[in-house]
Amino acid sequence: MSFPLLTATAALPAVGAIATAAVPAARRTAAKWLALVVSLATLVLAVVVLVRFDPDGARYQLTESHPWIADFGVRYDLGVDGIAAVLIALTALLIPFIVLAGWHDADPLETGSKRWRPTQGFFALILAVEAMVIISFESTDVFLFYIFFEAMLIPMYFLIGGFGDRAHEHGEEAASTQRSYAAVKFLLYNLVGGLIMLAAVIGLYVVAGNFSLTEIAQARANGSLHMATSTERWLFLGFFFAFAVKAPLWPLHTWLPNAMQESTAPVAVLITAVVDKVGTFAMLRYCLQLFPEASKWATPVILVLAVIGIIYGALLAVGQRDIKRLVAYASISHFGFIILGIFAMTSQGQSGATLYMVNHGISTAALMLVAGFLISRRGSRLIADYGGVQKVAPVLAGTFLIGGLATLSLPGLAPFVSEFLVLVGTFTRYPAIGIVATFGIVLAALYTLVLYQRTMTGPVKPEVSAMPDLRARELVVVAPLIVLLIFLGVYPKPVTDIVNPAVKQTMSDVHKTDPKPEAEAAK
């Protein structure tokens, strides 16, 4: 058999995580470099996957299949379609930046704090998360997916609770309590989602007798596997709930602001740009493929929730006093768009949604990481503590602005393409919802520019007057992201070409076709 590329892609960071954790305490820097190297190597593998993937080829490629727990009908089945390949690439792409951005986040406090912050652990956990995320993108076995979907909560939980943001207005003690609150909330919220999904997973087994995504999907397609309507709906709800929590979809979002606010910027990026994508990805792959009818049945409600999420998230972002919370709510709004695109059931919507996952990952990373640099300089997350930064640190301000413009999806930057595709895709089938969602772009401008104005413009606050501009390391983190934003903004074809066939497949799974334009229909 050929070289197990997918396994390697997932295993490399896993091994790297163990290795990093094993680095002796004294050799802190070595651990950092090791983590960085591993993440870069993973990126290389991911790129290889992307290259080896043939858009016109079979639906799932680079497949691997081994028996695992025969008793549960569980196999170790891997394989990527276009969507998965792209998202794996995204994950592998972001991790090096996250590592680099978090370079000093886990350093021990030189002051006499009793806090125990093992650098090794920090980077090992990041790599562990990467490994789990990647394998959950790769797996084509529902159970295998579920296992890592759940397991990735644990390292995330320690990342949030163990390495919180050092900037806190109420001092160390309050910080640690709030942090553990956020971590617990994150874990329990997602665990509840996951456990409810577990019930559905078991139910699926009872109905289908195995966990192979491909087999079940086929059987569903050719009708050999019949599900009672009610059964299908219940199972769908079980799956969807978990994904909706992870994504997160309004009103299941409240864990996200806490988590992002309390964790360090790189971890926040890890949450929203990488881990949460698993949720939306899973909606697209599992909900639609396994339960097409139920998905269609639930579509109206989901669309409404998504639109509420878009507007609601944006409005709350406007009302935030904390930079990271603001970004969190902005993300909630964006996830609304993604889910909207997925369930619009049009090729534009779904391709747009996939593209959106990628772009949102990059843009949020850019914005959040720069915000992190800003926060680390001033030691406060409160917007009110800043002002006039533009004057003292123009480069920082500039990158921040670009990140912001990407967030408000300015044409010419990557997010615009995806957002517009989603809107069009929605509009062609649900005009009213499409129009309401369009209000999101105005609100996005509002919260972004308000944030920029309050922090960067105006008279220079004395506290920020001595603020240094971006350092080399930080520039290395931000610049590539910005370049990528612009590139994908003017030339998204590489991504769309890979994604489109997969989306076409999904569309056929749900037996949907794009609505015809009126003019043609008229003829």
Partner: protein, 549 residues
């Protein structure tokens, strides 16, 4: 009863001795039990004749050998096919040698062995007057805080009797799940209960609580067994026999040669129903199912932690084994009567255990409630009444027992001036102080919580899967919800250990001897192996999933 019949009784008794044919006992097939019992008796003799200094070593050696030999015997029997093809009823119908009993006996023996390691640990408590001491009272008879106790401690007495007691308990547990008539069941129950009552009272520290635990456990246990016995009586009255096979036949109505008396009682279902309910109640008591669970937290807390660990693991295994056999072999005929009842019990057990655990402040009590919740999960598997149900329960029990012993073993390590520091507040920041121990304990907690890649998840999944296939989907949903609730307090402990500031006067983590290390290490290993690659053990459980009738 006619005079003739009475006369016949006399005459049979008056027959010449030669006419009695000796009972046929398959010693080989009973060897696991016999080995352990024998060893236990040897232990008693050691107490009597071996000088005090070397008793400890002799006892530990004998017990270890016995348990290992017993396990070897079990493996041999299984390899010989007694678990599957050659499964049959031994000892004149008293003992069933079949898959489930062998699997459970193996589990119990291993649990006993690991438990033995923790019993034999002598490095945790600071040496008293130069004598290394274990976690058992110097002299159980001496009043706590009295001069005689001081004297006993000074003299370096240790209660080495625990080892024979442990063996007796194990022996009883070995018989319990394989008992094939109600009398054997009852005797086995008492045989393993009485040593446990005693061992509960033998704590070195906190002796008042220890004694209280013993009293509660004893009184309630005896109370429960009285119910069991009455139930047995009623079943006997119903079927005219205490042998599972016969009762099953009577229940199914497939009994041959019905004499008039039997015909009379057979008609009377209330005898059957009440009797069955009472016997089951006795078993549920041992399992620790709501509402028969209330002894659990107190006893778990008061008993010496090694005993708690052993008890929590092995008792559950044995009791569930017996319950399975009773329900699957004796009472399948009245499935439609007991299943709904068991549903109810399972539900309130899962929810009750999980909910009450949320607000616990003592780690041992917390684990006690968690064990109650787990009993509920296992019951869900029992209810499935299918081969999968059996094997899933077997697997769950195996997975669970190792996690439990391991967890309690870790609890023994965290100590302060007053012995083990079991109050949760003292565990704050443990992860900062000694990351390894905290990490290990976290693994156990995650396994309890049923996080994927731990044995807990595999077990839970197996059980719920069986239940769902058995049509108990609502049960699965409730189980899922209660595991979500349960997750909350496991997480709480993890938060406490890793994310909260350590107390300045916090406890220290004692460095144990290889014994405890082995116990913990084994626990972790099994937890992860069963979590990542459970297939082999699932197969094992599958093969063992058939009862002999």
């Amino acid at each position: 009863m006619s005079a003739a019949a009475v006369h016949s009784l006399w005459t049979t008794a008056a027959d010449p001795i030669t006419k009695i044919d000796a009972p046929k006992i398959e010693y080989g097939q009973l060897s696991p039990t016999l080995i352990v019992v024998g060893a236990a008796i040897v232990g008693v003799l050691i107490e009597a004749f071996v000088p005090r200094k070397s008793r400890y070593y002799a006892q530990v050696f004998v017990s270890a050998v016995a348990l290992c030999a017993g396990f070897a015997a079990v493996v041999a029997l299984a390899a010989d096919g007694y678990g599957t093809t050659k499964a049959h009823i031994a000892a004149m119908g008293a003992i069933a040698v079949d898959g489930p009993s062998l699997f459970l006996q193996g589990t119990i023996l291993l649990a006993g062995l690991v438990g033995l390691f923790t019993f034999a640990e002598r490095r945790l408590d600071p040496a008293a007057h130069g004598n290394r001491v274990d976690s058992f009272a110097a002299q159980a008879a001496s009043v706590p805080g009295s001069d005689s106790e001081q004297a006993a401690v000074k003299a370096g007495f240790t209660t080495t009797e625990v080892f024979p007691l442990l063996l007796f308990a194990v022996a009883g547990m070995l018989v319990f799940p394989s008992a094939n008539d109600l009398l054997t069941l009852f005797v086995a129950l008492e045989v393993f209960s009485l040593p446990l009552y005693l061992m509960c009272a033998l704590a070195r520290r906190k002796r008042l609580m220890s004694q209280e635990a013993a009293v509660k456990y004893f009184l309630l246990g005896a109370f429960a067994s009285a119910f069991t016995l009455f139930g047995i009586a009623l079943l006997y009255g119903y079927a005219g026999s205490v042998s599972y096979a016969t009762i099953a036949q009577v229940v199914d109505g497939t009994v041959t040669n019905v004499d008039p008396a039997l015909a009379g009682t057979m008609g009377n279902d209330s005898l059957l129903l009440i009797g069955a309910a009472m016997v089951v109640m006795g078993l549920l008591f041992k399992v620790g199912a709501v509402p028969f669970h209330m002894w659990t937290p107190d006893v778990y807390q008061g008993a010496p932690t090694p005993v708690t660990g052993f008890m929590a693991a092995a008792t559950k295994v044995a009791a569930f084994g017996a319950l399975l056999r009773l329900l699957y072999v004796v009472l399948p005929g009245m499935r439609w009567d007991w299943r709904p009842v068991m549903w109810g019990v399972s539900i309130i057990t899962m929810l009750g255990g999980a909910i009450v655990a949320i607000t616990q402040t003592d780690i041992k009590r917390l684990l006690a409630y968690s064990s109650i919740a787990h009993a509920g999960f296992i019951l869900a598997g029992v209810i499935a009444t299918s081969k999968d149900g059996v094997s899933s329960v077997l697997f769950y029990l195996a997975a669970y027992s190792f996690v439990t012993i391991g967890a309690f073993a870790v609890v023994t390590l965290v100590r302060d001036a007053g012995g083990e520091a079991t109050h949760l507040s003292k565990w704050a920041g443990l992860g900062r102080r000694s990351p390894l121990v905290a990490a290990v304990f976290a693994v156990f907690l995650l396994a309890f919580a049923g996080i994927p890649l731990t044995s807990g998840f595999a077990g839970k999944f197996a059980v719920f899967k069986a239940a769902a296939e058995g049509g108990a989907v609502p049960l699965v949903v409730i189980g899922v919800i209660s595991s979500a609730i349960a997750a909350f307090f496991y997480i709480r402990v993890i938060v406490l250990m890793f994310f909260s500031e350590p107390r300045p006067e916090g406890p220290t983590v004692a460095v144990p001897s290889p014994l405890t290390m082995a116990a913990i290490g084994l626990g972790v290993a099994v937890t992860l192996v069963l979590g990542v690659a459970p297939q082999y053990f699932l197969d094992l459980a599958n093969q063992a999933g058939v009862f002999v009738r």
